[in-house]
C-alpha cells in the first residue's frame, strides 16, 4: 500500500472536491427555495463566468468584475424566475424540469455562439503557487475550499438566524401556510433563484482557473455536484459540502486503488457508492428524514 500515493490522491481529491462542494451549495440553495433540482445550474454558473471573463477582457480589474458578475447573476436569477417560471407556476413538477432542460440548452448554445469553444484562461485571485510545498494543493485550491466554507457559514447564518431566511424556508416547505402568514411566496422563490445564481457565479469563477473556461466546462461537474448534494442530503448545505469533498476523494482513491475496475470505471464506482449511501440513508447523510402524517 503506497501511503504517499494515497495521501497525494486524497489531497487532490479534496481539491477537486472543493469544486464539487461549491456547485453543490448552489444546488442545495435552489432546492431549498423551489424543492427541485435545477439542471441549468451549471450552465448559469458557466454563463456568469463568461460574463466575468468578458468584463476582464474589456479592462475591468478582477475584483470589480467579480462583484459585478455576482450582482448581475443575482438579478438574472431573479429575472429568470419571474419571467420564465412564474407563468408555469401551476404546471406539474415534471414540466418545470423540462423548462430547466430548455434553459440548459439555451445557455449552452448561446455561450458557444457568443464566445466559441476554444478554452480560455481565467485568472485566479489566489495565485498558483503551491501551498504544501509539493504541488499537490495549490494556493488556488486552498482558496477555493476556504471560500466554499465561508459561503457555507454565511448560508447557515442566513437560513437560521435571519427573518428572510426563515421566510424562504417556510415558503418552500409549505407555500399555503406561508402565504397565510403574510409571506410573499413568489418573491421568496425569486430570491432563492437569485441567491443560487449568485453562488453559482462564485463557483464558476473559482472553478474556471482549474478546468479552463469553455461552454461545456460544467457538464461533468454538475453531475458530481448533484451527486454530492444528494448524498449529503438536500436539506443540509453542510451535508452538500461534506458530500462534495467525499465525492472528490472517493473518486480519486477508487480510481487509483481498486484493481482491475478502478481505472476505467472510476465514475461508475463513485456513482455506485453514492447510490449505496442513499440506500442506507435514503434522505442523504445529513438530510432530515421527513415524516408525513397519513
Amino acid at each position: 500500500m503506497n501511503w504517499e500515493l494515497l495521501l497525494h490522491q486524497v489531497l487532490a481529491g479534496l481539491a477537486t472536491g472543493g469544486i464539487y462542494a461549491c456547485i453543490a451549495l448552489a444546488v442545495v440553495m435552489i432546492y431549498q427555495a423551489i424543492d427541485h433540482l435545477n439542471f441549468a445550474q451549471g450552465e448559469m454558473a458557466m454563463f456568469s463566468t463568461f460574463i466575468a471573463w468578458q468584463l476582464i477582457e474589456w479592462g475591468c480589474p478582477y475584483w470589480v468584475a467579480f462583484v459585478l458578475t455576482i450582482a448581475l447573476s443575482f438579478v438574472a436569477g431573479v429575472a429568470i424566475e419571474r419571467i420564465v417560471f412564474k407563468p408555469i407556476h401551476d404546471a406539474p413538477v415534471l414540466s418545470h424540469i423540462v423548462v430547466f432542460i430548455a434553459l440548459f440548452s439555451i445557455l449552452n448554445s448561446l455561450a458557444g455562439w457568443i464566445w466559441d469553444y476554444t478554452i480560455k484562461n481565467f485568472p485566479s485571485p489566489f495565485g498558483t503557487r503551491s501551498l504544501l510545498g509539493n504541488g499537490l494543493i495549490s494556493a488556488h485550491d486552498g482558496g477555493m475550499i476556504a471560500v466554499t466554507l465561508v459561503l457555507l457559514v454565511l448560508l447557515y447564518l442566513f437560513f437560521r438566524h435571519t427573518r428572510i431566511g426563515l421566510a424562504m424556508r417556510a415558503a418552500a416547505a409549505n407555500p399555503e401556510s406561508a402565504r397565510l402568514a403574510g409571506i410573499r411566496v413568489g418573491w421568496m422563490i425569486a430570491l432563492g433563484w437569485g441567491m443560487a445564481a449568485a453562488i453559482g457565479a462564485v463557483a464558476g469563477m473559482l472553478i474556471a482557473p482549474v478546468v479552463f473556461l469553455e461552454p461545456n466546462m460544467m457538464l461533468g461537474i454538475l453531475l458530481y455536484g448533484f451527486a454530492a448534494a444528494v448524498v449529503g442530503g438536500l436539506t443540509s448545505p453542510g451535508g452538500a459540502v461534506v458530500g462534495g469533498f467525499a465525492v472528490g476523494v472517493i473518486e480519486n482513491v477508487a480510481g487509483t486503488f481498486i484493481p482491475y475496475f478502478g481505472r476505467e470505471l472510476k465514475l461508475t464506482i463513485a456513482l455506485l457508492l453514492i447510490v449505496a449511501v442513499l440506500l442506507v440513508k435514503p434522505s442523504g447523510l445529513f438530510g432530515r428524514t421527513v415524516v408525513t402524517r397519513v
Binding site: 433540482l37 404546471a91 413538477v93 455562439w113 476505467e264
Partner: protein, 338 residues
Amino acid sequence: MEAIPTPVRLPAAESAIAGLSLSLWRRLAIGAGLVLALALPFVVKNFLVFQLTLAIIYAVAILGLNLLTGFNGQFSLGHSAFYAIGAYTAAIMMDQWDVAYYWTLPAAGVICLVTGFLFGLPALRLEGVYLALATFALAIATPQILKFSPLEHWTGGVQGIVIIKPDAPFGLPINSDQWVYFFTLAVAVVLYVCAVNLVRSRTGRAMVAIRDNPVAAGAMGVNVSLYKSLTFGVSALFTGIAGALGAIVTGFVAPDSFTFALSIQLFVGLVVGGVGSIPGTLFGGLFALFAPNIAESVSKGLAGAVYGVILVLVIYVMPSGAAGLVRLVVSKLARSGR
C-alpha cells in the same frame, strides 16, 4: 410535495361531441391513425419512412418510461440504460451468433425485464429526487461500462458493432426501409395494446394507486414493493425492445449512442406528450425526433437555443403535455356540445 401529477380526467365516455359519443370518437381516431400509418410508406420518401420508424421506436421507449413515471409515480432518468441494453442485446445476438433479428426482440425484452426488476428492488427505498439521481447515475455509468476493456470482445468496445438491416421476407415487393417500418409498427401496436390492457387491469389500478397514495395502497392490501419493482421491470422491457428495434433500424451500436442525453430526450418526450397518457407517447416520440431537426433548420449556430425556446413555448401552451391539451379541448367541446 406532490411529485407526479394526476392527469386531467376526461368526461365520461357517454358524453358526446357533435352527436357521436367519445368512445366512438376514440375508435375513429385510432382507426384513422392506423390507416394513415399503413399508407404512409408508399407515399413518402424512404428517408421520411426511416425517420418515422425512429419516431415510433422513441414512442415505444417513452411508453416504457411512462408506465414507470406516469402510471407508477417513480421518477426515472435512467432509461437510456435499458434502451442501451436492448440495443446491445440485439446487436450482439445478430453479430456474434447470427440470430435472426426478430428473435432478438423477446430476448432484449426478457433481459431488460430482469435488469429492470433487479434495479427496481433497491430503488424501492428511494423517493423523488433521490430516485432521480440513482437512475441518472445508471444512465451516466452505462457508456463507461460499455467501453470497459474486458468486455470488449462482446461489446466491440469503443468501435461498436455494425449489424445488417433486414430485407423484406418472402420476396415481398417492398424495400428494406418499408419492411422495417412495418415490422416496427406491428411490434409497436402489440406493445401498445399490452400497455393499455395492463393499465386497465387490476395490476394497472394497483400501479396507479401506488402513485397516488402509496400508504393508502399499502393499507388496502397492495404489495407495494412487489408492484413497484415489477413496474420497473415492465417499463424496462418496453424500452429495451425499443432499443433493440433502434439497433436494427440504425444498423450500428456504440457506447456514444447511449449517453444520458438520450435519457433527457426520452424524458422531454414523456412530458411533452403528456405524463400518464398512452396516446401522448406518440406525440412525444414524434417530438423527440423532429424537434431538434426543426431547431436546426431555423438556426444552425443557435440550434440548441432554438430548441430550448421551442420547449419553453410547448410547456407554456401545453403545461400538461399534448394529451393534457387534447383532454382540455375535448372536455370543453363535450360540455358545450350538450
